[in-house]
């Protein structure tokens, strides 16, 4: 079964969680499917707009109050995007590297001190 068949089903969110995850992997590699999805989203968007109904004013106040105390993701914080994931991992690695050097340096220094102390004790 070709994944291409699933673009429309995906556009309607009619896949279960596992199928959705698998299709999203396919989507990342398939420009044809991404283009078709963009076309189909126009349709689902129209279907949604057709259902528009004014929400209660209270909800607006609640949302804006919550927004006022909700921090936003920074650009690098968008964890769901694979490319940015890699950036985050790389940055984390880079941050870890100095710590590793420090540990190695401390270890070497400790070994030297022990060696010197050992030499002094034995004489």
């Amino acid at each position: 079964v070709s994944d291409h068949d699933l673009v429309a089903v995906y556009a309607l969110d009619a896949l279960d969680d596992d199928e959705r995850a698998a299709f999203e992997q396919h989507l990342a590699d398939c420009a044809t499917c991404r283009a078709e999805l963009a076309e189909l989203r126009v349709v689902t968007e129209e279907l949604a707009v057709e259902l528009s109904e004014a929400p209660p004013a209270r909800l607006r106040a609640d949302v804006l109050a919550q927004v006022a105390r909700t921090p936003q993701e920074s650009d690098a914080g968008s964890a769901s995007e694979p490319e940015r994931d890699r950036v985050v991992v790389n940055l984390a690695d880079r941050r870890r590297r100095p710590a590793l050097w420090v540990a190695v340096a401390v270890g070497v220094a400790a070994a030297a001190i022990i060696a010197v102390l050992g030499a002094q004790l034995s004489t």
């Binding site: 009619a14 349709v43 949604a48 650009d75």
Partner: protein
């Protein structure tokens, strides 16, 4: 691609991504009615539709820096997120029995939203979407509605209708593509 893109909404979302709460409030006014109306139709519960609307709009604020206008409009982004959230809510919170009842209601009931007096959407837009829906074959419409408004998976639809999965996939795809051309004709 879309004929009319709400570039104002794109600009508002980009300003919101920079922390502009007023821009976000304006974006809310533009997009929350679609989110709320759609969530209410899918979930069939006003209180839960309000919760989903709040979750979705706060997430839009929180993740606004991810918005990339090259990938699609702000409205598409928000509605895509909202549909998924509404569908996830329906799937996770309803017992199978309730769902079955709701499915029966979705299949038997009027195919589009009630014509309540509502100044949020242009009547012409509404009529255009309704006309397009009416232009689908009954079989295409049934599958599209069970998925979009019912929140059912294609596997569930295949079981409900007693059809092979491949047939359901084809009907959904043909139905959406047909809708798209009918909507364009109606412009």
């Amino acid at each position: 691609m879309r004929n009319v893109r709400d570039e104002h909404a794109d600009a508002l979302l980009q300003r919101a991504a920079g922390g502009d709460e007023q821009a976000f409030a304006d974006l809310y006014d533009r997009l929350a009615p679609s989110v709320f109306g759609m969530a209410k139709r899918i979930i069939r519960n006003t209180a839960q539709a309000e919760e989903v609307t709040q979750e979705v709009m706060v997430e839009v604020w929180r993740t606004a820096t991810r918005f990339d206008p090259q990938q699609g409009s702000a409205q598409t982004w928000v509605i895509t997120l909202a549909h998924r959230r509404a569908v996830d809510r329906v799937r996770s919170e309803e017992s199978q029995r309730q769902r079955t009842e709701r499915l029966a209601e979705v299949s038997a009931g009027p195919s589009l939203s009630d014509p309540v007096a509502d100044d949020v959407v242009d009547d012409l837009d509404r009529a255009r979407v309704r006309t397009a829906m009416a232009g689908l074959s009954a079989l295409q419409r049934e599958s599209v509605e069970l998925a979009f408004y019912g929140g059912n998976t294609h596997t569930e639809i295949s079981t409900m209708l007693g059809l092979p999965l491949g047939t359901v996939k084809t009907r959904i795809r043909d139905g959406l593509l047909h809708l798209r051309s009918l909507m364009e004709d109606g412009r």
